[in-house]
């Protein structure tokens, strides 16, 4: 016998199911009488400092079909790389956004400020990125990934450097399409599969 470790196991994840919007984005399903507004409607308020960017994309399954029922959440620091709630953070940046794939086209849009670079624990500078979490019917454990930006210097980013296959790095980099717009598609399975994270 040995001493007992006073640890608990994490509760098992289960799919959010087809009706995840009822709980997370109720107005998307026409339920508007319960809460004044959906949680995380925008990661920024009027007056947020920095460059406003619009990231558009779709979440594709293994057959190439864009999911109509995906729900996404993003989390990021402000334009100076300071996370909300920390000293010196831009009060107009909440950093959190919850958004859905369009029920007809499957396309999502995230409008935010471009985040600043953040130092990793060992002091290395990470390229600007937005954390992304994806859930939907058929996704048993929410998927973590990141959005980087094609017009930033990503060459020294420690996470991208860990991806062995060069072309796979591109799956995490949103492509600038001009005027502060970016395209970021997520492929759940198969050729071009997005790199998902376990962090």
């Amino acid at each position: 016998m040995v001493q007992k470790l006073e640890r608990l196991r994490e509760t098992a994840s289960q799919t959010g199911g087809p009706y995840v919007h009822i709980g997370c984005l109720p107005s998307f399903t026409g339920i508007t009488s319960i809460f004044p507004e959906d949680l995380g409607r925008s990661p920024i308020a009027e007056g947020a400092r920095g460059e406003i960017v619009t990231i558009t994309g779709s979440v594709y399954d293994g057959t190439g079909w864009a999911l109509r029922d995906a729900m996404l959440e993003s989390w990021q620091p402000d334009a100076s790389g300071i996370f909300p709630g920390h000293e010196g953070a831009d009060p107009a940046v909440s950093g959190f956004c919850r958004f859905a794939a369009d029920k007809d086209s499957g396309e999502f849009t995230l409008r935010t400020v471009k985040p600043g670079a953040v130092r990793a624990r060992d002091g290395t500078l990470q390229a600007p990125h937005v954390a992304l979490w994806i859930t939907a019917r058929g996704i048993n454990v929410g998927l973590q990934t990141r959005i980087y930006f094609s017009d930033e210097d990503n060459s020294a980013d420690p996470l991208l450097a860990r991806i062995e296959q060069g072309p796979r790095k591109q799956t995490l980099i949103a492509e600038a399409t001009g005027d502060g717009s970016y395209r970021f598609d997520i492929v759940l399975q198969g050729p071009g599969e997005t790199v998902f994270l376990d962090m």
Binding site: E6, R7, L8, R9, E10, T11, A12, S13, Q14, T15, G16, P18, Y19, H21, I22, G23, C24, P26, T29, G30, S33, I34, F35, P36, L39, G62, T63, W65, L67, E73, W75, F83, P84, S94, F96, V118, R121, G123, Q126, H129, W133, R137, G138, I139, N140, G142, L143, Q144, R146, L159, R162, R168, L188, Q189, E193, V195, F196, L197, D198, M199
Partner: protein, 240 residues
């Protein structure tokens, strides 16, 4: 400086690919996940204040009508604690829930089940844990319902839970089942959890001590989120 998260024990969770749950087949990544130590991006997260909550947010029997009418069904209190892997309470954690009505019907355009909508039931609620990690909400027991998967699959009665800890990488969505439901062992979604003890932990026991005579029954559902590693020996840069 935030603390590093304990790496996720993937054996506690379902696999992405589970052929018994057909929709997972084309939505499951096939490449391995990229495992890295967490950093500030994962260890920080949105902070929600209690001012977010309206007085009926945690009462699904009334919140859809804002008190004008009561939902149909078996009235239940669902309560429990949110802890982390170090068995410490997670205070001020946002808990969101959604569910079918007592007949097993969701208020959703995609749900065409025969059971009728309840004009007094929306099916969404939220609350926040207190300083000791306790939460509670009031609702009606959801009904079982059939769903298109194999020839004749039915979901056991369940409530969906979405949880925020203090770190974005603690995000968790799960489902709570009810003690004694004979549909649990038949359900392909419950069966995605391969570890029996982990599945048992998704089943809330009837809690008569918290039920109120002549008013409602109670079920207890504790939830564990990822914890952090807190030691003096973390490799921190000079002056951080």
């Amino acid at each position: 400086m935030t603390d590093p998260l304990i790496p996720r024990d993937r054996s506690a969770h379902p696999d992405a690919y589970d052929p018994g749950y057909k929709t997972s087949v084309v939505r499951a990544p096939t490449m391995p996940l990229l495992s890295l130590d967490s950093g500030p991006t994962e260890e920080t997260g949105p902070v929600f204040g209690h001012d977010l909550l309206g007085p009926l947010d945690h009462d699904l029997t009334q919140n859809f009508t804002q008190g004008a009418g009561l939902a149909m069904g078996e009235r239940i209190l669902v309560h429990g604690r949110v802890l982390d892997e170090n068995a410490r309470p997670v205070p001020h954690a946002l808990v969101e829930v959604w569910q079918a009505n007592a007949g097993g019907r969701y208020r959703h355009v995609k749900d065409g089940y025969t059971a009728p909508l309840d004009p007094n039931f929306g099916g969404a609620g939220r609350c926040m844990t207190d300083a000791q990690g306790y939460y509670e909400f009031f609702t009606v027991k959801p009904g079982a319902y059939p769903w298109p998967n194999r020839g004749n699959d039915w979901r056991p009665a369940h409530i969906h839970f979405s949880l925020f800890g203090h770190a974005f990488a603690q995000r968790l969505i799960t489902q709570m089942y009810f003690e004694g439901d004979p549909l649990i062992p038949l359900c392909p979604i419950a069966a995605t959890v391969k570890d029996r003890s982990q599945l048992d932990r998704l089943v809330a026991p009837l809690d008569m001590a918290m039920s109120k005579p002549m008013d409602f029954l109670a079920y207890k559902f504790d939830i564990v989120l990822r914890g952090t590693r807190q030691t003096m020996f973390e490799n921190k840069p000079e002056g951080a």
